[in-house]
Symmetry: C2
DNA sequence: CGTCGTCTTGATCCTATTCAACGTGTGTGG
DNA sequence: CCACACACGTTGAATAGGATCAAGACGACG
């Protein structure tokens, strides 16, 4: 993207100043290493709701990190229907499933206005050769990615009620990790998205929300959710009390 | 493991001579680089059916590659039941979901006698700093791992019939990749394992096998399977004809 | 104000599960 | 060598959980 498409009024933050760095690639780097990493990070114009960060089939030369907003990632089946593979929150890497492939394998779509950092993969590989901490963090994040998919797989084997409970608790944990309220948040995705992600229909999700409200587990109007009874929600989710992992939901 | 537990009659093959190297870490390395890698690879005694390569919770210092035989990997739920996350065939890495974690997160159990290579993770990280091709291959394999889990997730959303068809075709492709017959093989896992992996009950798997035999899609006695009508199996699987990816089943 | 995407709610249906009983095959010990 | 146990597999009948089909309400936005 030419510079003239990069509005100058946007804060040109750097990795050092970024509050998300502990979740991201710089996690364990020294200041001078962060500065080196910062050199290969590009900060693009904001992505608006409904815009694609990338589409399956496009050549893959960069990986991305979400700085603000929210995305969903999904696969497109030959049959034509979507499979939502995840929702991306700030600090999370995007496009990890395409490293080493020539093309993106999935779609990444903005659910709300989103700021994204882009990192040239070739440069990142080179730099990670010189910075052991970066190399380690990259491997760690990829490994976490696999683990997260295992969690997703596990979740989708549970009963519908447990799936949604786990989903809400996991989202809550992720918001908390980012310094946001864990008992009250606004879902960036539709019921349909949640259903697709949890392998349930949107009708089922809707009915579950209704039931959760009736049981006074949550309060909710539209996309705004308040968690009222976290411990009961934990019990319902089937996970041993506390320590719901933020996962990769 | 002390040397006296390593039977001297075992062929001490090396990475250079290994027929699986194209699937494994040495894929794109020069001869001298392979030699360097070979220095940090340990070849342990064979693992017998029912033995664990590792268990969740054990300290994680090495990753493993299967040289022969077959393993299953699974998670243990707090509820006590298993979740089979995959079946490992020769040339595939094991323990990728635990990189950067202190402990293994899953269990790896031999389904039949298995030979395994072990690679110290710290040394591998160090070496991958010096060898760009190794670094790239490691990232690629991890990324493929994520992609494979996406495939698994996708598969488990299909109808029971389609899941099993995809499973069989995927296994077939993986055997072929390894120079084995793709139309005829012996399943290393039980009906229960398949069912668990595909999120179906063993009864359902059994019924499906019966149906597939009656439709003359396959021939099968116990664990021995012949694929009789591959194109119809493809059609049933819902995947556009041909090009069933070996996946990570 | 009307439209479109989103969400809710109800009635019915279907697929895979559950429960149960019975085969089969293999390895072990008497 | 046979009897037994045990893991694995098959088959049937009843059940349930979520999908599907259908209709209508809500809310944001042009």
């Amino acid at each position: 993207m030419p510079d003239n498409l990069r509005p100058s009024h946007l804060p040109q933050v750097n990795c050092y100043a970024c509050s998300l760095s502990r979740l991201c690639l710089p996690a364990s780097l020294t200041d001078s290493e962060v500065a080196e990493l910062d050199q290969i990070v590009r900060r693009n114009r904001p992505l608006h709701k409904g815009e694609y960060l990338f589409r399956a089939g496009e050549p893959m030369r960069q990986i991305f990190v979400l700085r603000s907003g929210a995305l969903k990632t999904y696969l497109l089946e030959s049959s034509g229907d979507h499979q939502v593979t995840g929702f991306v929150l700030p600090g999370e890497l995007i496009g990890l499933d395409a490293i080493g492939a020539a093309e993106f394998r999935s779609f990444a779509l903005a659910l709300e206005t989103a700021m994204v950092c882009a990192i040239d993969l070739e440069q990142l590989e080179e730099l990670s050769g010189r910075i052991p901490g970066l190399r380690h963090q990259l491997l760690h994040i990829l490994s976490q990615g696999i683990h997260g998919e295992h969690e997703h797989l596990r979740c989708n084997r549970e009963r519908a009620e447990q799936r949604l409970a786990q989903f809400l608790l996991s989202l809550s944990a992720r918001y908390q990790q980012r310094g946001l309220r864990e008992d009250q948040f606004i879902l960036p995705m539709t019921r349909g998205d949640i259903g697709n992600y949890l392998d349930l229909t949107l009708e089922t999700i809707s009915r579950l929300f209704t039931r959760f409200v009736q049981s006074e587990l949550i309060e909710c109007q539209g996309r705004e959710v308040h968690l009222l009874n976290r411990s009961e929600l934990c019990r319902l989710s089937g996970i041993e009390e506390q320590n719901i992992s933020p996962g990769r939901h």
